[in-house]
Amino acid sequence: MIGLRVRRPITPRPVPPGSAAVEIRGLQVERGARTVLDGVDLTVRTGEVLALVGPNGAGKSTLLAAVGGDVAFTGGISVDGAPLATWGHTELAMRRAILLQRQTMSFPFTVAQVVRMGRAPWAGTPLEDDDDAAVAEAMRETDVSEFADRPHPRLSGGEQARVALARVLAQRTGTLLLDEPTAALDLHHQEMVFDVVRERASAGAAVVTVVHDLGLAAAHADRVAVLAEGRLVACGPPGDVLTAEMLSAVYRHDIEVLPHPRTGRPLILPRRAAPG
């Protein structure tokens, strides 16, 4: 708590695509007497978009919280090749950015100021010179440039969500952990978010995103990981994982899966009775 950190933060070096950005081994998280995550093994690689799906309370947000260093856990989590505990706060912030489900803001900072906060980890490093470019790019990608000077509390929920995403993108980290980045967004902006995320992945980032819309996961993710009751029940390409049997069992609801007539990607729908 007191005392100066002697070591200078180690800035990340570029890594080849396909190397492990986040490695989770035997992850277990307890909250009170309840086991929220139990024996989760998952490796996220650079260059891929991994969608994390599952019913409410399955432990998706807790998984991100554990990787973010917010909750105590047992098991192993490595970021950029080293265990979580070996990194300093700033070093972690240079490696992974996290978008939380809910945004809070105590004071009326403007949108541009909020996005610029994403650059905080790079203060005092040579990459500080990229601040203006990173902020401008992130605001353009999330379509928030036009209200750059508006105070954050006066935005709508969807606009605040995009500003938060812009802040996360401006951080320019090798790993992005996004908790429901599309939840508050309209259809156009949902697709826009996944376009941006895909672009970051092809540029070498590793992306983990929690989504409730299985259609989005099926359409945009390289791999889908399904969590249910704290366990990882399946992980693989959308076409292999998102099957009617699997999803019906996990969501306890009769679900049908059809191939998209043009792309062949799975379309996921609850089975509804024909009208009339």
Partner: protein
């Protein structure tokens, strides 16, 4: 950023002018040019007129300068501690007197007076105020936080409880006090700079300066903290350490303000709020501007307090509360409509 620089410059000039006016006006009037002359002669420059009034030089150096200096230091400490408190609580309604920290510190100081403690010499009173102020800050902080945030209702209710306990303790101390101590404690309750002397200035100035400097060093991290604790941590802030530093700074600033001037409410609430309206909430400008603004407000308020009625002195704390209280009302209503109810 230029807007911030203009504000800081303006406040600096305003403070200098106000100090000059405050030093020249009083029972013995010394024109401003003579005030400047007196200072220049003291530092060895034989320039400008000396005070012509009877015992004018004494009035300046024994009574008025220490009083103005103490007003500057106390005001800066109050403005700065209010800002840091609002930043770390993530709540624009937090203020040392409102949530009880000032009263906690006053209990510590009053204890020293009543029992005539002199363990640490001149510093005893400040040390006691600091100890009790720190304890109160920690108490309020732990009690009013839930799930990583401070809710308005909980914060204000905690303030009521802390104030109730502190005023009961002050009452007990007054009950136990002799006549001299009783008068001193009463002056506390109302807040006053009448007892200012160079010893007091020399005691609190280094503390207040250190507090303001550390607060300024935390400015960038306090900005990030307004995104919430988790997000601040994800951006590289060591939140635990920041919180600990901020609480010590708040206690240090509040107790150095309270130790000799007593409880002067609402300065730490009104000043940062007005400054946020001008330059926005960024702490790198807000913290120095609030310190300067607090000093300006307190020098002006003290000037009014001791000159509004001839040969009488209004209690300073009463004056600031008269203006600050209604402002607090307005802020409460605004905070409520802003969040669509109490959150």
């Amino acid at each position: 950023m230029t807007r911030g620089a203009v504000l800081l410059g303006g406040l600096g000039v305003a403070l200098a002018v106000l100090c000059l006016v405050a030093a020249s006006v009083g029972q013995v009037n010394v024109p401003p040019d003579q005030v400047i002359g007196s200072i220049l002669h003291r530092v060895g420059l034989d320039v400008g007129p000396r005070p012509t009034a009877l015992r004018g030089d004494d009035a300046l150096w024994v009574v008025r300068f220490p009083r103005v200096a103490l007003a500057v230091v106390t005001g800066a400490a109050l403005g700065c501690s209010g800002t840091v408190m609002q930043g770390v609580f993530g709540n624009p309604l937090a203020e040392p007197a409102v949530i009880g920290v000032s009263w906690g510190a006053a209990v510590g100081a009053a204890t020293v007076i009543v029992f005539g403690l002199t363990v640490l010499g001149d510093w005893t009173i400040v040390a006691a105020a600091f100890g009790c102020g720190l304890g109160t800050t920690l108490l309020v902080y732990t009690v009013s936080r839930f799930a990583g945030r401070t809710e308005v209702v909980t914060l204000l209710l905690t303030g009521i409880a802390v104030n109730a306990v502190a005023s009961a303790l002050l009452g007990l101390l007054m009950f136990a006090a002799g006549n001299d101590a009783l008068r001193a404690i009463t002056a506390w309750n109302l807040g006053s700079l009448a007892g200012a002397n160079w010893g007091a200035v020399a005691t609190v100035t280094p503390l207040a300066a250190a507090g303001c400097a550390v607060a300024f060093g935390c400015a960038r991290r306090l900005d990030l903290l307004s995104l919430g604790e988790r997000t601040a941590r994800h951006l590289g802030v060591d939140v635990e350490r920041l919180r600990f530093t901020a609480i010590v700074v708040i206690a240090l600033l509040t107790s150095s303000a309270v130790a000799f001037a007593g409880v002067i409410a609402f300065v730490g609430l009104v000043v940062p709020h007005l400054i946020r309206m001008v330059v926005g909430p960024g702490h790198r400008t807000l913290i120095p501007a609030s310190a300067l603004g607090g000093a300006v407000v307190l020098v002006a308020a003290d000037l009014v307090a001791r000159t509004a009625i001839a040969y009488q002195e209004l209690p300073l704390g009463v004056l600031t509360a008269l203006i600050g209280g209604p402002f607090f009302f307005w802020l409460l209503r605004r905070a409520r409509s802003g969040s669509g109810g109490w959150a």
